[in-house]
Amino acid sequence: MRKQWGLLAVFFGVALVASVFGSNFLSGYNLENLTNRTALFSILALGAGIVIAVGGIDLSIGSVVCLCGIATPWLLVEHGWPAWQVVPVVLGMAAAIGLMHGLLITKLRLQPFLVTLCGLLLYRGLARWVTGDQSQGFAGEFDGLRSLALGRIPVPFIEGYRIPATVIPLAVLAVGTSLVLTRTVWGRWLLATGSNESAARISGVPTQRLTIAAYVACSLLAGLGGMLFIFDIGSAQPSDFGNFYELYAIAAAVLGGCSLRGGRASVGGIVLGTATLQVLRNAIILLGLSSQLEFAVIGAVLLLGMTADELLLRWRERRAERRAPSG
């Protein structure tokens, strides 16, 4: 919970700097773009957050994005499959990948880091091989399908800002995940498994099934994210599409309050973490900073924010200790 306050401060701090010193940060068009990017990356980060909450890690997110994203136009354009077949097949493939991760991790007790690191190599390799390393795109067609990402929904009485269509899947998934985590047995079990797997199992929690479900959810979200990403950008190259996206997703989830030790997750925090990263990247361009500085700026701002947050917390604890009357 506390982490999000620090994150919120960083978010608004960066937004403030960007709107004062940058140009047009608060323009409807820019906010629209930011919403869209946040929505796309948040879908990946949600999956990363779920796996982190159960005490695991998934490094294959970027490669699953690539494989599923590339497979969509490949099946639609190169093979002429109808959309109603392509979407379930691609998502099914993503779920199967997650299932495989989950089974290897729970039944064979392989390290999640290792399993998904191998996945990172495997799926990208597969994507490059099946497509012959050719870039895949929609060639100006499938506008209906692509409007799932490109569509903009006008807001009544507000000029200049339309809600990107990608907000719809994100909203559904975020609210759903949040409800599952807080209101259902499975969510409680998920967090308990991440918190102390042994204690959870002894208390009757089917920890293996939950771990598997978490990996399936993560890969499924990565697959869906991959589809939406390619709808958004129109074409992609198997050799570089989705590179490093797992790191953005994991960073956003951890910034948003998911503990890498497991047992903690906050959907709001995950979305806020993603939004902070995206606003930072946006601000670098709007402020006219050299784009070579991008990674350095992101790293420095987040590190500063987290350090300040930790120091603030310690200061508050010490003050509370001193203030409290003895007895």
């Binding site: 773009n33 690191l117 190599l121 870039s135 992609a236 599409f241 784009s291």
Partner: protein, 358 residues
């Protein structure tokens, strides 16, 4: 960072360890040795030499070049291997070393970063025959270069932009990355062409700073390391920052495609002009409907075809096939509304030919 670690692992395991690392040998000596080998071959020409064509990455552009190389292989009845390195410098190095290990008779390569590839290029020259295509390596012991000068092609794109924006204005440049030599030259060519400067391929402007000259303001140059989501975001953000933007150019194929897409979404297609590079399908469509000024295209088919023709001639001992200047020019063309349809149907046919072979 994981990717970097893996890349270094791959590098460590690469056959570089088994092949002896050539010390930067004397260029003239290596050239002379190759020519001597060509003369030697005249005595007993190989019936079916094994030749290779190596790209600098993966793109439809190279698929068309592949079609050309394979067509030449069929016409001349020789074995042709086409390699597309997907993961940059280290990948290309590995492929080239493997080809040498396999005893290749001649290699045409588009070097990604020739200054830092001295050793592997020397190695090819020492064991095989080396020519370059698409991007030259004048300091390497290559027998010939086939392609167009990226500086001149960039100039064509700049001149196209200048014609579309005669009164001056604000211009933004998008490019995948600027590390490779052909990108730097293309970038400089665009700038010089736009500003109407004299032809001087050695000129170097600072791409990190905006500047104004001759009525044109170059707002900046944005790179994306081939992350297309980032490339799209770059166009969006630059448009947000600069409401007075008049023209953009995307110097890599997808940069122009994504710029057009962003402008369409924002209702700015046709308002902000685009000078394209390469022949993305959407860019061609944009030229037809008038939202793109035009695009500068190379002739990758020619690169592929002429590479194999030259290498084949050399393996048959025909030293006279080498051009005196060391360069075989295959010029770039500017495609505008006038010639777009003819260009497109020709291209489709060649691309299909390249894709037919896996």
């Amino acid at each position: 960072m994981i990717h970097a670690i893996l890349a270094s692992l791959v590098l460590a395991a690469a056959p570089a360890a088994t092949l002896h690392a050539a010390s930067p040998a004397d260029r003239a000596a290596l050239l002379a040795a190759q020519k001597a080998r060509v003369t030697e071959m005249a005595k007993a020409p190989k019936a079916s030499p094994h030749l290779a064509f190596v790209s600098n990455g993966v793109a439809d552009f190279w698929t068309i070049a592949k079609a050309g190389a394979l067509a030449a292989g069929r016409d001349l009845k020789c074995q042709v291997t086409v390699e597309f390195p997907g993961a940059g410098l280290s990948d290309q190095k590995r492929m080239l070393e493997d080809l040498v290990t396999r005893g290749i008779d001649g290699v045409s390569v588009s070097p990604i970063d020739p200054k830092n590839q001295r050793e592997v290029l020397d190695l090819i020259a020492e064991r095989s025959l080396l020519i370059t295509n698409d991007s030259d390596a004048p300091e390497a012991p290559r027998l010939a270069y086939i392609g167009m000068d990226n500086y001149l092609a960039g100039r064509k794109c700049g001149e196209l932009a200048r014609a579309g924006l005669p009164g001056g204005g604000e211009v933004a440049i998008f490019i995948g990355r600027l590390e490779q030599d052909n990108a730097k030259r293309r970038w400089q060519g665009f700038v010089d062409g736009l500003l109407g400067r004299s032809v001087d391929a050695t000129r170097r402007d600072d791409h990190t700073k905006p500047f104004t000259e001759a009525g044109y303001t170059i707002l900046g140059t944005w790179t994306d390391s081939f992350d297309r989501a980032k490339a799209k975001a770059n166009v969006e953000d630059v448009m947000t920052r600069n409401p007075g933007l008049d023209l953009v150019t995307g110097l890599f194929e997808y940069n122009s495609v994504l710029a057009l897409e962003v402008f369409k979404q924002a209702g700015k297609a046709g308002t902000i002009k685009i000078a394209g590079f390469d022949e993305g399908a959407e860019v061609i469509e944009g030229i037809r409907e008038g939202s793109v000024l035009g695009t500068v295209v190379q002739d990758p088919y020619g690169y592929g075809y002429q590479s194999i023709v030259l290498l084949h001639a050399l393996t048959q001992g025909k030293l006279e096939a080498l051009p005196a200047s060391g360069e075989i020019a295959i010029p770039a063309r500017t495609i505008t509304k006038e010639n777009v349809d003819a260009f497109w149907s020709d291209l489709k046919a060649k691309l299909a030919a390249g894709k037919a072979v896996k």
